[in-house]
């Protein structure tokens, strides 16, 4: 007890927040270590007591890829811009996997940690944020397979474009986090989210060019199609890794705009609902 640091304690003012609360990013910064611990806990716990452990991070996209290969390439014979279908679909499955994880883990992040919310103070933003970041680790593991695929099919990555990959990854994170914020906050009050989720995931999957090429969409619908920010993310990944598609065009900027809109509105909605979480969860 002697080593108790004699620092001047900070004074906290507690008062009812009115309207849209300030984002309080300062608190988020103060609790940055908790973000790290939550991500670490999510990853650590996710594959405990599973037979295959972290192999699931690879198996999930690979098995999806194999199924899609037979269905869309062998049976339906969809065009793939002259890229072997496994690589074509796998480059899309990587960001898609992150998005689905954010959708599933993120939307339940508040309700599954209700005992934390009703007992101690911390910026609740940490919970959906951590579940999105935990998805990144799965993505990193799963991308090892992509490297293997490049070798197997003797495909050369589009080296001149690969530097844009982090930017598209950021876009994927922004989109995933925005959606996770909305869904997790709604889920606190309306558990309907749990029922909507499978349907939403499936619908979104077909609205995103994961299994097929975005070129399959007719010219006049292209812009409307870009309203789905995941379309921008997936096209971007393919462009950066394989050099196919248009690269940054109007459609991409529409996707970026929508994505930011979802994130910013999600942040405000989340912050505004945050004060009622402990009472309604």
């Amino acid at each position: 007890m002697t080593e108790l640091v004699k620092h001047e304690p900070t004074t906290i003012y507690i008062k009812p927040s009115t309207g849209f609360t300030a984002l309080n990013l300062r608190d988020l910064w103060l609790y940055r270590e908790l973000v790290f611990f939550m991500v670490w806990r999510d990853i650590k716990v996710r594959y405990k007591q599973t037979l295959l452990g972290a192999a699931w991070a690879i198996l999930q996209p690979v098995l999806t890829m194999v199924a899609m290969f037979f269905l869309f390439n062998k049976v339906a014979k969809l065009p793939t811009d002259n890229v072997p279908y496994p690589i074509f679909s796998y480059t899309a499955l990587l960001p898609w996997g992150l998005f689905v994880a954010a959708l599933n883990q993120g939307s339940r992040s508040l309700t599954s940690n209700h005992n934390m919310i009703t007992k101690v103070y911390f910026p609740k933003l940490i919970l959906p944020l951590a579940s999105v970041l935990a998805g990144l680790v799965d993505l990193a593991i799963a991308s090892l397979i992509l490297v293997g695929l490049f070798f197997y099919y003797h495909v050369t990555p589009a080296w001149n474009l690969v530097w844009t990959l982090p930017l598209f990854l950021l876009l994927a994170i922004i989109t995933a986090l925005g959606v996770a914020l909305w869904l997790s906050a709604i889920n606190v009050k309306y558990r309907d989210v749990n029922y909507v989720l499978p349907f939403l995931t499936q619908f979104w999957f077909f609205a995103t060019p994961v299994a097929y090429s975005a070129k399959a969409i007719s010219e006049k619908w292209q812009l409307a199609y870009s309203l789905n920010p995941m379309a921008g993310v997936v096209n971007g990944f393919r462009w950066a890794l394989l050099g196919i598609g248009n690269g940054p065009d109007t459609g991409l900027w529409v996707s970026v705009g929508i994505s930011l809109l979802i994130l910013v509105s999600g942040l405000f909605y989340f912050r505004n609902m945050e004060k009622t979480f402990a009472d309604t969860i």
Binding site: I12, I14, F37, K44, M116
Partner: protein
């Protein structure tokens, strides 16, 4: 002296559960209409950006705290007394920023720590070591701070040899000790102790109070909530009395405790429901009073384990009710159920009293001698028609102490585990 906590005009409004209003008229039609209009209300409430989806019905709100103001100087230990539902826990929740006030402001100087929200964020799959870091981070500790106190915490928790075992393999005692070790080493400037929520055995609670005393000795500020007047008297210099969300008295502890006891709010083996205590949704059922009586018929708040006890619940039916059952839950203070029983559990009884005319009734039951173990128990009450409606429920209507002098095994001065202490027939034979 500097002010550690300054509370000004603090109020907190809660919405009463929607389930109660939903069944207000107990009509199936309402339930149907309700679920059909649910999507519309959902969209409305999203658009309206707040949770007052039914702001038209203002009577659905209760004020858990109403206009509470007080200042507390640094280094003082303040007791908070009041009956269940007086707003004690709500006050602590606001101070620890778990929930927001509806009105008023609080300024708090320094970190607020709670001794009893132990094990928050503990994950059964993680090891003891991992959970210490996780839990510490949730409580707002920095990693270096945890590193520095890690050994001390492990020693305190007495689980050193299992520190790398997942906590799901821990006994509940080990789990609690580990969780408490983290909370106890948080060293906040302001410590909040809600003994009402205390879990754990008597030994563990003693440890909590001991730790709290240490903290107070070090000159830090402590807020202490308890139903145990002797603990309040022993550990605090000053106390506030809350009643129905309002601060009705602040005085040196002996005076505040006297006031509290004299005002008849204290649990005295009797619980009386005033008209305003009973939600309108309970109609036609209206609880009047619940009493705990000893063998001689005297109302008591401490019963002897070796004597039978009578529990008496008096209530009014303002209209005939069918299928009624009136009963109780008995819990230990740790929240474990001891039993649940209803007055019409017996089939013959149900035939005769399942349907009851309007009028005043007493449902009374006897608990035989040699039943309770040492400690404190909580009695909850419930009046319902099975599968139809719950009229009234209070999960903690009354609490009482049990004195075990003369009970089996008391010649050994030890704590006996378990909520009951039966006098069993033992036969000892020499067979060889």
């Amino acid at each position: 002296m500097t002010t550690a906590i300054s509370v000004k005009g603090l109020s907190k409004r809660y919405r009463i559960g929607a389930a109660q209003t939903k069944f207000r008229y107990g009509m199936l039609r309402d339930v149907f209409v309700d679920s059909l209009t649910a999507p519309i209300r959902f969209v409305k409430s999203l658009a309206g950006n707040s949770n007052n989806g039914s702001s038209t019905k203002n009577n659905n709100f209760i004020w858990a705290l109403k206009d509470v103001s007080f200042d507390l100087e640094e280094g003082r230990v303040l007791g908070i007394v009041g009956r269940n539902g007086a707003g004690k826990s709500t006050l602590l929740k606001i101070l620890s920023r778990v929930t927001e006030p509806t009105e008023g402001t609080v300024s708090v100087r320094g970190r607020v720590g709670s001794l009893l929200e132990v094990g928050t964020g503990f994950h059964p799959e993680l090891t003891g070591r991992e959970n210490i870091y996780m839990n510490g981070a949730i409580l707002g500790m920095k990693r270096v701070e945890i590193d520095k106190k890690f050994d001390e915490m492990v020693e305190f928790s007495e689980v050193a040899q299992f520190i790398d075992t997942p906590v799901k393999r821990y006994s509940s005692g080990m789990y609690l000790r580990l969780a408490f070790a983290v909370a106890a080493h948080l060293e906040p400037e302001i410590l909040v102790v809600d003994e009402v929520l205390a879990v754990g055995d008597a030994e563990f609670q003693r440890k909590c109070l001991g730790k709290m005393n240490d903290v107070a000795q070090q000159g830090r500020t402590v807020l202490f909530v308890s139903h145990n007047m002797s603990a309040i008297l022993r550990l605090t210099q000053e106390a506030i009395v809350l009643k129905k969300g309002q601060l009705i008295k602040r005085a040196p502890t002996p005076e505040a405790v006297d006031y509290y006891l004299a005002s008849g709010q204290a649990e005295s083996g009797e619980r009386i429901w005033d008209a305003e205590d009973v939600p309108v949704t309970s109609a036609p059922f209206r609880p009047i009073r619940l009493r705990l009586k000893d063998r001689t018929g005297k109302v008591v708040d401490t019963v002897r384990s070796t004597e039978p006890v009578t529990i008496e619940w008096e209530y009014q039916l303002d209209a005939p009710v069918t299928g009624l059952r009136v009963g109780m839950y008995l819990n230990t203070m740790r929240g474990e159920y001891v039993f649940t029983a209803f007055d019409t559990d017996d089939a013959k009884q149900y035939e005769q009293f399942g349907a009851r005319q309007a009028g005043r009734y007493v449902s009374c039951c006897h608990i035989p001698a040699d039943f309770f173990n040492e400690g404190r128990y909580s009695l909850g009450v419930n009046a319902s028609s099975f599968g139809v409606r719950r009229y009234f429920m209070d999960e903690n209507a009354l609490s009482f102490n049990v004195d075990i002098s003369g009970a089996p095994g008391t010649q050994w001065p030890e704590v006996r585990q378990g909520p009951i202490r039966p006098r069993l027939d033992w036969k000892i034979e020499k067979i060889d």
